[in-house]
Subunit: 321 residues, 2 copies
């Protein structure tokens, strides 16, 4: 399988012989907003032309913003609840280089007071379910993908049951770079999350200042600096803790009823540094983090969806072989 994780800013390609058998992988700064002249087809040839020539019957499956209205071919959202089979039955297709079909994974939409959407995360999630023994079979499980737009996903018997999006990472970056709060902070030398005292105070403020709420708590980044409670080098970590703290409060009100911790651990999927921050924060808000993080499950997810769609025929193989 030629598996493509094709997002807004970058494109990653995996040549797969099985769910975790990566023969080769490549990445380029050719996300859908950074395409070369010639567009999608040219980008694919530029990154993977030799693979396409060497394997003339290689199936191609792509996930991510490549399936959005601004992408190569729109793949309309699948509604929750959605499992790998539901997703696999709704692939879109477009003619790619050398007349080859490129199949595109749809995103997922959930409705509620406000709609929620994902594109690409569903593939990470089905990858995570395949990589973790028994995850698909568990009745209920929370998977968290922290990041620019953090996703909290409630799984039920292997399907995406519902989910919610928090703009935590984008709000952090925007306030850090463009607000008065950011102007109080020196340029990061060791990363913005390196001060554990500042980070923990941010988490504590979120808990204690749950009401009123975030809009007023944000001003404390300024006043804790003014009053000497925090040094300027600690303010970015404090802001990070504050925002992650409010994310966890909102997630708690969404997914936890009462004060009992969730019976099964929360699985974190994402970059290691960020997952470690969430691992530190989760128990302070009544969540149990799973002992492992997963850094990237997109390739495995694409394999699982391709298999469910009948794009690849394989002998019986185990993910954990």
């Amino acid at each position: 399988l030629l598996a493509l994780d094709w997002g807004t800013t970058s494109m990653r390609a995996y040549l797969l012989a099985g769910p975790t058998q990566v023969l080769a992988n490549r990445a380029a700064h050719m996300g859908i907003m950074h395409l070369p002249d010639g567009g999608f087809s040219a980008a694919l040839v530029s990154l993977c032309g030799d693979w396409l020539q060497r394997y003339p019957s290689l199936p191609i499956l792509a996930a991510g913003m490549v399936g959005s209205a601004q992408g190569w071919r729109e793949a309309p959202y699948a509604k929750t609840p959605a499992g790998a089979a539901d997703i696999a039955s709704r692939l879109s297709s477009v003619e790619g280089p050398m007349g080859r079909a490129v199949h595109i994974v749809p995103g997922v939409i959930s409705t509620g007071i406000v709609p929620n959407v994902m594109r690409g995360e569903e593939t990470q999630i089905f990858g995570a379910c395949a990589l973790h023994h028994g995850l698909a079979a568990e009745v209920r499980r929370l998977i968290v993908l922290p990041g620019t737009h953090s996703k909290w996903v409630a799984m039920r018997t292997g399907r995406i049951d519902n989910f919610i999006t928090f703009m935590t990472g984008e709000l952090f970056a925007t306030l850090r770079q463009h607000s008065i709060l950011g102007r109080l902070m020196p340029t990061a030398e060791h990363g913005d999350h390196a001060d554990s005292h500042g980070f923990d105070l941010g988490l504590a403020t979120a808990r204690e200042h749950r009401q009123p709420g975030l809009l007023s708590a944000l001003f404390s980044v300024r006043t804790f600096g003014l009053t000497g409670h925090l040094r300027v080098e600690q303010l970015a970590s404090y802001l990070s803790g504050l925002l992650i703290g409010y994310e966890l409060l909102e997630a708690k009100s969404t997914f936890l009823n009462g004060s009992a911790p969730l019976p099964t651990p929360v699985l974190l999927v994402g970059a290691g540094t960020l997952c470690e921050l969430y691992r530190r924060a989760l128990p302070q808000f009544g969540f149990l983090p799973h002992q492992d993080n997963l850094s990237n499950a997109a390739g495995t997810g694409l394999w699982m969806i391709a298999k469910a769609a009948g794009l690849i025929s394989t002998n019986h193989e185990s993910v954990h072989a």
Copy 2:
């Protein structure tokens, strides 16, 4: 009195013969971050040199960021509860042009789970109290100064009892200009708050999505656009309504106990367009807006503080003469 409202970006000067008797007023883009060479003294001469020469004994009183650590002379915060007399007893002074003393109004600080500070707003507030019949005498009253950093101020018998700051305006501007949400919005032709349907839907989402909360509600700016619930021209108004809605929810949890409306109206002090948005929103969250807005009460406030400090001696005069 030479009354100076001297903030971060601009400086306004009033030549006053009484609390509302403005003989002349001038403004310049000479806030503390935009000073001419020669600094504060040169800026004052440049804007008001002729007044200083014509009135050799004219007292000078300044309020705003000019009294901050980055200002001309730091005027340490007065603690709540703080009335005009408390403020007047804590003026700082610095030698200005021609050896003239420039007196500087301190800001106000309140403590709590997080500290809150104001600088300049206290002067607007004492001006508003003087301009509004009976406001000072009322046992409790809420004054709201919407803006970049909205202030909600609880007055008790004419003193600032406690207050809270919401970063509503700054968050709107930052997200509008620098986030993915802003990139979905076309450039504003008629102002970002002109679509009343979008604004009202933002208020409604805040009420209905009170829990989980703001971090997840923000993503609805994107999804209501994606799903066709709102046109792109409505998204900025929707974001404005959403943020003001959460401000009102947080204010409600701070100042209102139970569901009964506040017995006396909320007085809005600020720019007319913004005050009208709050006037529209307040009743939907259990607040009664006062029938009048005040657009600028800084001159009157400086007069009241100067009088309390003994900087000016006047015959008995009425604000409402």
